[in-house]
Symmetry: C2
Subunit: 239 residues, 2 copies
């Protein structure tokens, strides 16, 4: 069955959240006279609250909440823990929207642009629609559609997120390739019948050794970046 | 309040469904040895079943059905009425997807590309996501997001379609402009607090006199095409 669409994980796979959030943290600190914070560590701490926050929704303990709101709750917690208070609401909101201003990896825009010529390229991210749209405009990501968590009202790796994304395109799962730097995401997509492409991002978490470098499943494609993905798909007659 | 997003009606406003469907009808007729059909009249008849089909869903008589499925039910009815039978399922499906292969008006791609530099541009159409994505790829429409009926599980001009589109962008209604060639669409959007731009499309229904040429409300903008819309918005400091 020929491939019609590529569904992308975004945070880590397409954009470099860690150095971008750290840069935005530096700006937030300067603008609000906050000193003594290691903003790279702050970025890691913010991201460390990501899976626990999603789990509140996945487990049913919390009703659906968009990632922007989960990010904000985590931000408020982290600032309180560090004794930072009295920041204006617009400044907090602007910093929370740092997740809308993440830099793409150097190959992302060119690679996506190449892939878009042949395939539907869509997000299948846990980021909500507004976040994904604003991020695409900031980073120049040429998505054909914003799919993923919010249309499904649930978070990956829950099946319904992949299933709803495929259903909205009115395709068969096997006509879609999930593209991600994280094996757990591909494992879940594969269980729903999607094909899988692993694109490791060695620098996602900073120091060497923290990111996943090796596929843990028999993924249909392993590519070193999105240009390599375009080249490999271009060479395969079955794709 | 500055404008952040433009929401577009698509059929008639951005693409010329009538001559495109007629052209696809000619091809369908040739490929399936169907003679004696006026395909321009067939296009008009297919579109004439559009509002009654939507009304089944709007009224609650039918559960949510995507426009692709409503189009197919109408197509089957029209072919049966004309005594056309024995067509293969792939050929019927291909013709039904003629709505995914509609030509843009000459100004649409350039106008949208200009508007996209400054604003989020999204569909707020009754077309389902797959239809809108495939149409965008066929016609080169550079949408930032596909919104409208399917995410709301309801059809325009029901309020929830406009409200859901605005909510998914996490904007205020007054930060959004509904762009349409049809006054009823703008009237409904205005009731939800959106600003409105009327872009008449005199040739939408063919012969002169059939399309709406005049605004029936105090719309914030009346533009002669999407390039004119880009120029007018560029000149207005309040936008």
């Amino acid at each position: 069955m020929p491939i019609k669409a590529l569904l992308f994980d975004v945070f880590g796979t397409v954009v470099d959240w860690r150095t971008s959030i750290a840069r935005e943290g530096e700006e937030f600190g300067r603008a609000n006279d906050i000193t003594g914070i290691d903003w790279m560590a702050f970025a890691d701490a913010w991201r460390a609250l990501y899976q626990p926050a999603l789990e509140q929704v996945r487990s049913g303990k919390s009703p659906w909440m968009a990632l922007d709101d989960l990010h904000r709750a985590s931000l408020d917690k982290l600032l309180a823990e560090r004794g930072i208070s009295g920041i204006s609401e617009p400044a907090l909101d602007h910093f929370n929207r740092a997740w809308h201003r993440l830099d793409p990896w150097p190959d992302s825009v060119v690679g996506l642009t190449r892939l878009k010529r042949k395939y539907i390229i869509a997000t299948c991210s846990n980021g909500n629609v507004a976040l994904m749209v604003n991020l695409a405009k900031y980073a120049g990501l040429p998505w054909d559609a914003i799919l993923g968590a919010e249309p499904a009202q649930q978070y990956k790796p829950t099946r319904v997120v992949y299933e709803k994304s495929v259903a909205l395109l009115r395709l068969e799962p096997a006509e879609c390739v999930m593209v991600a730097a994280h094996n757990y995401d591909l494992e879940a997509a594969a269980k729903c019948g999607l094909q899988c492409a692993f694109v490791p991002r060695p620098k996602e978490f900073g120091p060497p050794g923290r990111a996943e470098l090796t596929p843990t499943g028999n993924w249909q494609v392993v590519a070193k970046d999105l240009n390599d993905l375009a080249e490999q798909l271009g060479r395969r007659p079955d794709f």
